[in-house]
């Protein structure tokens, strides 16, 4: 599939794959593609950051390569690792007689290389450059950020035994962060930045209809309105769009076509994840339901 030619094209293709986003997101994606720069997406949990990258892979007809970050992630997990057991076996089989230098050259060849996501993203034979999703970068640590900085400026990796591997084609890189810590400015400077906000009511209804089609129209609207009401409350963990979808699906699975106080009380665990929040909301369920039905 060709790269989108206009912003409208990006918008349309996202929509076709049931991703309902703002025009501003489409604009940022379009520019990231054109400028060949990584797109750094921030937003509260559950607003569709990861999903945006996944859908982009479909839109471009490209392979999605995902790197989930965590504290302590290092090059052996993110870029490459030698397959030591195989190398050891191989060198043992060769025995003492063989030419040692030739043997070393052989075992430090790509055949013995375990390719991790970042190497895979810059060194591959894909017909279309892949989409590289570096998910939740805020979970990694400064050492890893420093490495990424280098990778994202030159799109090359050096492996001492083999040499420098340069990207034949620049992958489309999407980096997401939940802002559990501030990511270093130098890394962000390499990227285009986009903040995804919670959608407004109409947009959220549209998202529910697109992604949870099993929910009846009336139900979709009421659940979306209910979650919008919850977002206005003083909660420890405000529900995201992912929670709206879970909730709509749960209610649909129960055969509900409208909401009522009983159903909402029984299922609100789909949207609220803290005991304190559940307690706080429980008292106000009838009022919230009432308001959602009128929205």
């Amino acid at each position: 599939m060709s790269t989108p030619a206009t912003i409208e094209d990006v918008e349309r293709r996202l929509r076709e794959r049931r991703y309902i986003g703002d025009r501003s997101l489409a604009t940022s994606i379009f520019l990231a593609l054109k400028l060949q720069k990584p797109l750094f997406i921030e937003g509260e949990a559950g607003v569709g950051k990861t999903e945006a990258a996944k859908v982009m892979a479909e839109v471009l007809g490209a392979r999605l390569i995902r790197l989930q970050c965590y504290e302590g992630i290092d090059l052996a997990h993110a870029v490459y690792e030698w397959n030591y057991p195989r190398q050891l076996l191989h060198i043992r089989l060769l025995g003492e007689t063989e030419d040692r230098r030739a043997a070393e050259r052989e075992i430090f060849s790509s055949e013995f290389l375990l390719r991790r996501p970042l190497l895979d993203a810059i060194d591959n034979d894909d017909p279309t450059p892949p989409v590289l999703l570096i998910d939740e970068i805020d979970r990694s640590d400064e050492e890893f950020e420093a490495f990424l900085l280098e990778l994202l400026s030159d799109f090359q990796v050096s492996i001492p035994e083999i040499g420098t591997i340069r990207a034949r084609q620049v992958p489309f890189v999407v980096i997401t962060s939940n802002r559990t810590r501030e990511v270093h400015d130098a890394l962000k400077r390499r990227c285009l930045y986009h903040w995804i906000d919670y959608p407004d009511l109409d947009k959220e209804v549209e998202i529910v209809r697109a992604r949870a089609p099993e929910a009846a129209d009336g139900l979709a609207r009421e659940v979306a309105a209910l979650v919008q009401g919850l977002r206005g409350m003083d909660l420890y963990k405000v529900p995201g769009v992912a929670e709206t979808l879970d909730w709509a699906r749960s209610l649909a699975a129960l055969g509900a076509t409208r909401i009522d106080a009983g159903l909402v009380s029984a299922t609100m665990g789909a949207a609220l994840k803290y005991q304190e929040d559940l307690d706080r909301v429980r008292e106000q369920v009838p009022a919230l339901v009432d308001k959602a039905k009128r929205a």
Binding site: K37, G72, R92
Partner: protein, 385 residues
């Protein structure tokens, strides 16, 4: 390339952003120029998004960018009074001189450039209380210069550092788990014979500190000293700092000035309710909802400094403390009054707080702060909870 006369305009816009505190160096300017090639400049929203995606890199900068964009690319009618233009009432954080220079350059009234800081920028944690909330600038001049210097020197030379925690990152070491990667690599060099075992163990890092300081009226005598304390720690430790009286304000960035007096000046400018009343529960609730997830990672130690004179609801304070204690590695409450003779923690707030803190210490003089230092340095050798 975009139209030729757009480029100088774009350069001027980058300078405006720079003056307002955003990063707008040559690299970003180049990116912006490249981005505009692909945008229909007549569509204002796309133009705006393109520049935003280049010049903004954190959520906090978005309002500043929007205000600058409005002022620069879609200037309001200069004859209209500032307040009435819908959507254009956001403040641009410029120094008065810069604001005037920009107003002249763009042909605007100065009032349209740099309005009084919007109160919403520091949202009150509760709207109800405190008709008499004292929104006055508190001057930091009370302590003599000599005293300040002495305190600062003592704090900077204090022999303690915050305790370390083990991270998940491993580094080579003589003891610890076997490092298969290095061992195998070495073995390959010796024809596949495992001659040596290499080991590695988790790297250690200092725990981050989170300081939440009460600067309400009853704490007035201590505020300046505590800010000096915060500044001294911020110079050497990983510190997030907040102050509150009726509302919570983050001062981490304001403390970054190397020079103490400039740091204190920017704190006093940035914090609008020094010496107001106290609502500790509200402030901690604010912290729990807006900041806890962002600053309590990596085993942070939370220090609350307050005398516990609370005008709010003790049960709210209790529930917020329980929540906070669950997300922090350790919760320490410093009370300056604890140093005074015969003090008993009988204030409602203190009585509510006490059972939920790991430690309860004094903070009335440098010696007490050094006790705190020793506690922080020894954290891991004590079991928590």
């Amino acid at each position: 390339m975009p139209e030729v006369d757009l480029l100088p305009r774009l350069g001027a816009f980058a300078r405006l952003l720079h003056d307002a505190g955003l990063e707008a160096g040559p690299r970003r300017l180049t990116d912006a120029t490249r981005a505009l090639v692909y945008i229909d400049l007549k569509v204002e929203d796309d133009f705006r998004t393109a520049l935003r995606s280049v010049f903004v890199s954190r959520k906090e900068d978005i309002p500043v960018f929007e205000a600058a964009f409005d002022i620069f690319w879609a200037p309001p009618d200069p004859r209209a009074p500032a307040g009435i233009i819908p959507g254009r009432s956001r403040a641009l954080p410029l120094s008065p001189e810069r604001a005037k220079a920009w107003a002249d350059a763009l042909g605007l009234n100065a009032s349209q450039m740099n309005r009084e800081q919007d109160q919403n920028e520091f949202p009150a944690s509760s709207s109800g209380y405190s008709a008499e909330e004292l929104l006055r600038h508190k001057d930091f001049e009370d302590m003599t210069w000599t005293e300040t210097e002495q305190v600062r020197r003592l704090l900077e030379q204090a022999p303690w550092r915050v305790a370390e925690r083990r991270t998940r990152r491993l580094r080579p070491s003589r003891v610890g788990r076997i490092d298969l990667r290095r061992s195998a690599r070495h073995a390959i060099r010796s024809s596949g014979e495992l001659m040596m075992l290499f080991r590695r163990k988790p790297r250690v890092r200092r725990r981050p500190l989170v300081l939440i300081c009460d600067v309400s009226g009853s704490m007035e005598r201590y505020s300046r000293l505590l800010m000096i304390f915060a500044h001294a720690i911020a110079r050497r430790e990983d510190l997030e700092a907040f102050v509150f009286s009726t509302r919570l304000t983050r001062i981490t960035r304001l403390l970054r000035h190397r020079d103490l007096d400039r740091a204190l000046e920017s704190v006093s400018k940035g914090v609008h309710d020094f010496s107001g009343g106290t609502r500790i529960g509200d402030a901690l609730g604010d912290f729990n909802r807006k900041w806890a997830r962002r600053v309590l990672g990596h085993g942070a130690v939370v220090i609350i400094v307050s005398d516990g004179w609370d005008r709010g609801d003790p049960s709210q304070l209790t529930s917020e403390l329980i929540h906070l204690r669950r997300s922090a590695h350790r919760l320490i409450w410093l009370n300056p009054l604890l140093g005074s003779e015969g003090y008993e923690p009988l204030t409602r707030g203190m009585a509510a707080a006490l059972p939920h803190c790991d430690d309860f210490l004094a903070a009335h003089n440098v010696a007490a702060l050094e006790d705190l230092g020793r506690l922080l340095a020894s954290l891991d050798s004590r079991t928590t909870r």
